[in-house]
Amino acid sequence: MNFRLNALTRSIYVFHLSSGSCNNCDIEIIDCLTPRYDIERFGIQLVGSIRHADVLLCTGSCNRQAIVRVQRLYEQAPKPVFVVAFGACGSSRGIFRDSYNTVEPLDKIIPVDAYIPGCPPKPEAIIDGIMKLIKKVRGTP
């Protein structure tokens, strides 16, 4: 595995992007940083600025106002960047599928690399999703 891939998957800066969520998924993200699960031991850190991000963790079902903004944020992240659709809302809009305000699921707006289903996903599911993303990026099965 070349050096670049190695570095990209051993040090992951996560930017948390909520496009209209109910905040349960947001709480579960913070939950992963607590001592019980501690994802910092995998080299994962939450960052404040989109320009420092390697992974965009998108919660919330993208509503109409958020579409343009999510696209702009995706363009502002320095490549290579990976997008993780978080929760049922991020994966497919969940129960908001038939709402007047959510027109498209997230993967029609920005390219998504991994999905973590759940409402909200348990931290074990989140860690499993991250591992799947890392394996996909590295190209190992």
Binding site: E40, R41, H52, K79, P80
Partner: protein, 302 residues
């Protein structure tokens, strides 16, 4: 030959490569101890190196409306001056006869340049949140430079008004480290608090308040430029503690460096972040008063 020698000292040992490596490792110690104090596991030993390596593998985005010259030159300026300061102090420890008169003052100036570079780089970003971080950093620098300079006057006075690092070290080796005297203890305490602010550690990391102002001064930096800022932080994390331990603890060996590192980590983990006005009041009030006390004690010979 001396040019090659000096380049070696500046770039390899005890300059850039050495200081960056030790600094990144010390940063890892900080993260690991913090994690342990929070009953977590913490990152592996190579984490900080991987962080910097990854940042150099990403693209560097240039925000619209930034002034490119300042934006890209400031990280390099900061890294260069931090490395230079660290090299001078480390060389003074390695061979006390060398150095030049006034090199202590030069190091004090050089140690201030990275903060100014941070301010200019943040201002060049063209982002209102970065401007907020810049104004906070400016106020912080204005507040902690006063007690720092006062505390730096203490070793100068106690070593018979010598302003060469090698001479100050000689005095300490002859008579005992300055920290064993009352003025030395007070000056060490003041220097420790100022070090916390200079290195951007909690409780004084208002300029780069991650969740509050989305990264503050570093908000628009990405990729290689951000990597250079992280290296600057790492080099400063070596240079500034060994400066303090050279002039107050009688030399910069491993135990003295570890002592300062441990004290900084303890302060970091037991305090929340303070507001900028609280930091200003703190440094201009009690800390400056303590520094003045240290100077007075030194002048009356204690």
């Amino acid at each position: 030959m001396t040019i090659v020698h000096n380049l070696f000292f500046f770039l390899v040992f005890p300059g850039f490569l050495f200081a960056a490596a030790i600094g990144l490792f010390a940063g890892w110690i900080d993260r690991k101890v913090t994690a342990r104090l929070q009953w977590r596991v913490g990152p592996p030993w190579h984490q900080n190196f991987m962080d910097v390596a990854k940042l150099f593998c990403k693209e560097t985005l240039i925000p619209e409306g930034c002034s490119r010259g300042l934006f890209f030159s400031m990280p390099v300026v900061a890294l260069a001056t931090a490395t230079l300061a660290s090299t001078i102090v480390a060389m003074a420890n390695l061979s006390r006869a060398h150095g030049f008169i006034g090199d202590f003052i030069v190091v004090l100036y050089l140690a201030m340049v990275p903060s100014i570079a941070v301010m200019l780089g943040g201002a060049a970003s063209g982002n209102p949140l970065a401007n907020l971080g810049v104004s906070r950093e400016m106020k912080l620098v204005l507040s902690y430079e006063l007690p720092f300079v006062l505390a730096s006057a203490v070793p100068i006075i106690k070593s018979g008004y010598a302003i060469r690092l090698g001479e100050i070290l000689d005095c300490q080796i002859r008579d005992g480290a300055f920290i064993t005297s009352p003025s030395g203890i007070v000056a060490f305490l003041v220097s420790l608090l100022v070090l916390q602010a200079k290195l951007g550690f909690v409780p004084f990391d208002v300029a780069e308040a991650e969740t509050e102002i989305a990264g503050g001064v570093y908000i628009e930096y990405s990729g290689k430029a951000l990597g250079i800022w992280k290296l600057t932080r790492a080099v400063l994390m070596v240079g500034l503690p060994i400066l303090v331990s050279t002039v107050l603890l009688g030399g910069a060996g491993l135990p003295q460096y570890f002592l300062i590192l441990v004290l900084m980590i303890v302060i970091k983990n037991t305090n929340p972040r303070v507001r900028i006005d609280q930091a200003l009041r703190f440094f201009w009030g009690p800390v400056a008063g303590l520094a003045l006390l240290a100077v007075v004690l030194a002048m009356i010979g204690r």
